[in-house]
Symmetry: C2
Subunit: 493 residues, 2 copies
């Protein structure tokens, strides 16, 4: 990867002075067009060896472009988030909206690189991380993000020379730290690991640009030109991308039988007394679990999905009743805001991940992508098809990070739904709970059944299984939800 | 993955008898359209648990469709190819041309699944294999192949019932083997591993279809309908796929300096005597290496690329002179044949991989994809961009399989090329060596330089590094080639 970045590339002052004004003008022009169109976001990584000019490049880009639409993220890599969120959380938070550029110095590459070089990360885990990075960047690209990755390179001698130069002058000596000299001594190891890392992650959708860092003018012009070229290519794109038709992939049984049809929806609790007894017992159990010492070391992500009027709200209330109000958040998911719409669809859920010792209760969730968005054609088939894998990746990251993922699907019969809709219309204080949307959704009952069936097939994993809740009897449903949650938490404590 | 395939799906005889004739008619119609258009090939995998009807499905498809354009490959998985080729070789060989369908019973999934279940494959290696499979199928899809994967499923009880039924009747008892009963005892392990394997490899471009296998009519109708739907979707596709514009990814230095410019092309051998001495010595060394006992346990893949008239042919002759004619094959690569054009571009090279104890000498190679095909726009930028990764994957498989990959790029100056072109025109027996193409390529000298520079940057790997050969002096070039080859072979013996 580095062969052509050790050739001693240079640009003379005359050419530099001549080309820079024009380049800056065009860069700004492109940036304003990006802001105005707000069609896609840009994620830019500036990485590379110490002393090759990462800091200078960031400063330069902030000078050449309009920093109001360019966010610089100097994110220090951490082995573990103190808040207990997955490692990718800080990067997800910093993802730019459409029309904006986010510049990352220090990125999802930092930890695997440094830990692997120092031998703190085994080969197997490193390979796993590389795959995760590829999946992440693939998702970004699929969601329309322009991903630009620059690696500033210096040969070992070049790095040494640079450190010596900087050390000599009072004004710049502070820029060379002890760590820098230590890294120089490990140049070979850094070189080997980063070459491997770069080659593996140099994909068609997010290739690395290796830039020789020794000559400042060469470096600046190269990076400026590459950014301009990438922006222009995207901005000037005429043809709308068309995905190739692939194998139609829906899981849809020709006899019309889905997993939901095999549920015994008539299951019920014998009596109200029995319900009250069990409810109290389960709520007590859940409360005690949430107060255990070890609970502070995990967090819980619970997801409630279900047919309209299946009783999600009621079930959630029985859960929250059991908990200290400081322990949980209920996150109702409605149509996405503008903020959310202009980022990858999982962004809003990353935002709401709980800290350690807390329970997040999602009233509807990321599964909207493969339910309402699929059924209503809010996204294309390739989009919801790739969502299964993206969701599994997401939940796997939660699981690996000691988050308990509990997913409940509440199901009622079509008749029962009708009964409840009518009841809602006739009960004054329930009136607000029934809208035209609900009636419209009801017409798509069968399409939803197919979507739910496929969702359960493709996203019920070892680390985050679905629980199907028979919900014609509200009491039965609530008890099952509480029991599922308590059992799942107990298993990890 | 299997939730919706344990629901006891059935289709009654009446519906089956009514729908089958129509389905068969439409399937045949689609197949003939596929043959006639010859736009894309179809790869179909029939996998699943024993007793779920894999064999019956293959027979059925051969009956329902025209077997002249449907090749059935019952490839027994092998831990290692006796010929020493990589494990994927037998599957590459069986890839269908455009317009044809290849049916695989036993596929690239068999070995990882079985070995993992029996604990003969560690988790790390299994994960690596899963990634290889994903890359392979991604490549197939990118090359236009329609990939259809069916997994026939039975619950544990279903499998037991089925084995008992078959065993009872004389006519079918032979179908249940001891291995089948053994596998039944390991049902849980098979289930766990295959669920994981299927989920990981159920990608947007090649998703699995899980089909409940218990009811024959349900199974047949489901598979038939899915195939029909997939074929029709592709055949009826109106819009030509347009790849989204991604970050332009070319490595192209703004000062115009490439790796080739830093070569000292004036290097030469002092005298003809010196050349003759060294030549004899190196050829002798190579010959001895090829006769070592351990040489029978490896194979060598050597690649010769270079500017026109750089002396590839002469260098290759000096290599073959040193070898027993039974030990090597020279594979000259010209424009692809029709046979080759209708398959993924790497197919022709897989065909020519050497057996153990042999040396394959490629006179030009798969690198044509990122050289001539790039420069002449024979393929699109996204196509040659993904080729770097595909080529690295390919060479890594060779390396892992104890194949020594040696790649030489022969470079001359533009002046020296002119001198040689003119000499060729004026020497009667060399006249055939110079064509209009050569003159045309010469006009694209700079574009080739950029392409070679990027090729070396992106495909010089630990396991298959490039050697740049300064070739203005033919003697020098030949000796360097021989030395490179001998050194590389010696290192592994």
């Amino acid at each position: 990867m580095f062969e052509s970045a050790e050739l001693g590339h240079t640009i003379d002052k005359e050419r530099y002075d001549k080309e820079v004004p024009e380049l800056r003008h065009k860069l700004l022009e492109a940036q304003y067009e990006l802001v105005k169109k707000a069609d896609f976001p840009v994620v830019m990584i500036i990485a590379g060896v110490d002393g090759a000019g990462k800091g200078e490049t960031v400063n330069l880009l902030n000078e050449w472009m309009d920093p109001r639409h360019l966010a610089t993220n100097a994110i220090r890599p951490l082995g573990e988030e103190p808040s207990g969120r997955p490692q990718m959380w800080r990067f997800w938070r910093a993802l730019p909206p459409k029309g904006h550029i986010a510049l990352f110095v220090g990125s999802w590459y930092s930890i695997p690189l440094v830990e692997r070089v120092h031998g703190d990360m085994k080969r197997g885990e490193f390979d796993e991380r590389v795959e995760e990075i590829k999946h992440f960047e693939h998702m970004l690209a699929d969601e329309g993000t322009l991903v630009l990755k620059f690696w500033l390179h210096l040969s070992k001698n070049g790095q040494k020379k640079r450190f010596k130069e900087l050390s000599k002058k009072k004004k710049t000596a502070w820029r060379v730290s002890d760590t820098d000299w230590k890294h120089l001594a490990m140049y070979k190891q850094f070189q080997t690991v980063s070459e491997h890392l770069l080659r593996e992650t140099s994909t068609a959708e997010a290739p690395w640009h290796v830039v020789e860092g020794a000559d400042e003018r060469y470096r600046n012009l190269t990076i400026g030109n590459q950014i301009l070229r990438a922006l222009r290519a995207r901005l000037d794109q005429k043809a709308k991308p068309v995905a190739p038709v692939r194998a139609p992939s829906r899981i849809e049984a020709i006899d019309g039988v889905t997993i939901l049809d095999r549920l015994d929806l008539e299951k019920k609790v014998e009596s109200k007394d029995k319900y009250n007894d069990e409810l109290a017992e389960l709520q007590g159990r859940l409360n005690l679990l949430s107060r255990r010492r070890k609970f502070e070391d995990i967090s819980v992500v619970s997801v409630f999905e279900g047919s309209d009027a299946a009783g999600k709200g009621g079930a959630i209330r029985r859960v929250t009743q059991a908990l200290d109000a400081r322990k949980y958040d209920v996150i109702p998911i409605a149509a996405p805001t503008d903020e959310e719409k202009s980022r990858p669809y999982l962004w809003r859920f990353w935002r709401s991940l709980p800290q350690r010792g807390r329970i997040a209760i999602f009233d509807r969730s990321w599964y909207g992508r493969v339910l309402v968005e699929r059924v209503e054609n809010f996204c294309s088939e390739p989009d919801w098809m790739r969502a299964y894998g993206e969701i599994n990746d997401f939940e796997e990251q939660l699981f690996k990070n000691r988050m308990v993922v509990v997913k409940c699907w509440l199901q009622i019969t079509k008749d029962e739904q009708l009964r409840r809709f009518k009841e809602r219309e006739q009960t004054p204080y329930k009136e607000h709970k029934i809208t035209d949307d609900d009636w419209r959704n009801r017409e798509k009952w069968d399409a939803y059944k197919v979507a739910v069936n496929e969702m359960i097939d493709r996203t019920s994993t070892e680390w985050a299984p679905w629980t199907l809740v028979e919900a014609n009897d509200k009491y039965f449903a609530r008890l099952k939800v509480l029991r599922t949650l308590a059992d799942a938490i107990e298993r990890v404590l």
